[in-house]
């Protein structure tokens, strides 16, 4: 391959695009640990802003973790059986269920949130508890878990395994828990990472559903961007990035479901967060 001027021209272009995306992230990470951002790094490096965020907003961090874990449990309990049923059945009812479960992906979060408020806003206890936010997150993240598991099930030859087990006398539940679930493990892991990442960063639905006592991390972020000094917003962003970074790295690793029982997988599960499943801005 000859590396002529065209190569370097395109390389420069690509690096500029990268810089556009990453420079502000680096700036914000620096601002979060700088005494005074406008004076620059010479004003001193400090953890003061991080501690201040911890004092002001630590509840939002714990609530986001709580909701993400609860959301994960719900999506596994609801999504894995759904994926199994959809992998087994090709009929019209199955396709309708699939459409129903993936429809929330095509509807803006704001609309989903409004629909929930209009329908359940009257139930005071429910409306003011964190479970209300959880419901929104489950509706939004469920399709990701379901698809991730379905992608593995549609490549794994679990039918043959199941038939083998059935011929040995294993009942339906025994086969479901001992054969199907272990075989879609990689799909469940990839789906779980995606669900937790998306739940931790969800803003569009959460902003409408939150109350003063149920603020999640992204709600707190919006609050700090609007009303706090730049350094505090930046320090808070650092905390958010530190929290999602391990998930993203794990997704790189588990994003490609490969196990002895799976054949090569479709393209759309290759990237850690497939382009279609990023956080909704």
């Amino acid at each position: 391959m000859n590396r002529n001027y065209r190569f370097y021209l395109q390389l420069t272009f690509t690096i500029v695009v990268c810089a556009f995306l990453i420079v502000p992230v680096v700036m914000s990470m620096m601002a979060g640990v700088t005494e005074n951002f406008i004076k620059g790094i010479s004003s001193g490096i400090t953890l003061r802003w991080i501690f201040e965020v911890w004092d002001l907003y630590r509840d939002t961090i714990f609530l986001s973790l709580l909701i993400a874990i609860a959301c994960l449990i719900c999506t596994i309990v609801l999504g894995v059986p759904a994926a199994y049923v959809l992998a087994k059945r090709q009929g019209r009812v199955a396709r309708m269920i699939e459409e129903l479960l993936t429809l929330p992906l095509a509807i803006p979060g704001l609309a989903i949130a409004l629909a929930l408020i209009i329908s359940f806003g009257g139930f005071r206890e429910f409306r003011s508890s964190w479970v209300f936010i959880l419901v929104g997150h489950v509706i939004y993240t469920l399709p990701f878990m379901m698809r991730s598991v379905l992608a593995v099930l549609s490549t794994a030859d679990f039918r043959t395994l199941e038939e083998g087990a059935a011929s040995l006398g294993a009942g339906f539940w025994r086969r479901f828990f001992d054969i199907v679930i272990p075989n879609c493990r990689t799909g469940i892991i990839a789906g779980s990472l995606m669900v937790v990442t998306l739940s931790m960063g969800e803003f569009n639905i959460t902003w409408m559903l939150h109350t003063p006592v149920t603020k999640t991390l992204p709600v707190g972020l919006a609050d700090s961007y609007a009303s706090m000094r730049l350094e505090i917003g930046s320090a808070y962003t650092i905390i958010f990035l530190i929290m999602i970074m391990p998930l993203l790295i794990a997704l790189q690793h588990y994003g490609k479901p490969r196990s002895p029982n799976t054949r090569p997988v479709e393209d759309d599960v290759e990237s850690p967060l497939p382009s279609t499943s990023g956080q909704r801005p």
């Binding site: 990268c18 914000s28 509706i139 038939e163």
Partner: protein, 273 residues
């Protein structure tokens, strides 16, 4: 085995269907109904075309999403093709940097625009050093556009790269051996082959931009994009019927656009704001 299994499968599918009906489909139906209970009745649905304020918001949002899509497709095609066809040190690193912002909520994207073009932003500092005047545009339509391009690039670039990987290189060689210039190869061979991927990822970018709320919310520009209009109608004006009608209209638009993407890209495409 198939027949006897049906009851078990129904038991497995029942919880998820009940949850989806109770917390999604029925609430959405109720939202569609509430939209017609305002002063204008079901004419609320057409208010997006008949009332200047909503029409303006609709036009601004569509234009913003459209221009964002075109610009993002151009940027992502150049960078994506380059990254797919060249192997060099640091390539994987560049790819992971380009896709990293996929995990950012809209509010964080908004904050990144403030970092670049806000009052204490990088662009302001640079322009001040050069011209003496601080250039600040984070809180204008230009800032909003910057944010929309920011969150669209990672979405589009992965699809383009996946499609570029499958290009038939023998066609290019044939074109080249017939005397086609590099630019002719791009125009007559590569771009036509990428067309389905460009349409699919363009549709995703457009639908995502139409529904984006967090970015506009953080930048709080005076240009009301449709999601901000819906939010304002609902919370500040307590105009629930209009907010409901506008969000149903927005949902139908994103749904239709994503259906187009799906028909071009196969089964599993969908993501709106």
């Amino acid at each position: 085995m198939e027949k006897r299994e049906l009851p078990y499968l129904v038991v497995l599918a029942l919880p998820v269907v009940i949850v989806a009906l109770a917390f999604f489909l029925l609430p959405m139906a109720r939202l569609a109904y509430i939209a017609g209970t305002g002063d204008d009745g079901f004419a609320a649905y057409t208010s997006v075309l008949t009332k200047p304020r909503y029409l303006e918001s609709m036009i601004a949002t569509t234009l913003l999403a459209g221009i964002t899509t075109v610009v993002t497709l151009a940027i992502a095609t150049i960078a994506g093709l380059f990254l797919e066809r060249n192997r060099f040190l640091g390539r994987d690193f560049l790819i992971s940097l380009l896709t990293f912002p996929l995990a950012f909520p809209g509010v964080v994207v908004g904050f990144m625009v403030i970092m670049l073009a806000g009052r204490q932003g990088l662009i302001g500092q640079i322009t001040k050093a050069i011209t003496g005047d601080k250039l600040i545009f984070a809180y204008s339509i230009a800032g909003l556009f910057l944010g929309y391009v920011y969150f669209s690039i990672p979405r589009v670039i992965l699809t383009i790269m996946a499609a570029a990987e499958k290009l038939d290189s023998s066609l290019e060689e044939a074109a080249r051996s017939l005397g086609a210039s590099p630019w002719q190869v791009v125009r007559d061979v590569i771009l036509p082959a990428l067309k389905p991927a460009l349409i699919a990822s363009g549709a995703i970018a457009f639908a995502t931009a139409m529904g984006a709320f967090g970015t506009a919310f953080t930048l709080a520009t005076d240009i009301d994009v449709l999601p901000m209009t819906i939010y304002t109608e609902f919370t500040l004006r307590a105009n629930i019927a209009t907010a409901a009608a506008l969000s149903i209209v927005l949902g139908i638009i994103t749904w239709i656009v994503l259906s187009i993407a799906r028909s071009f890209a196969g089964s599993s495409v969908a993501a709106a704001g």
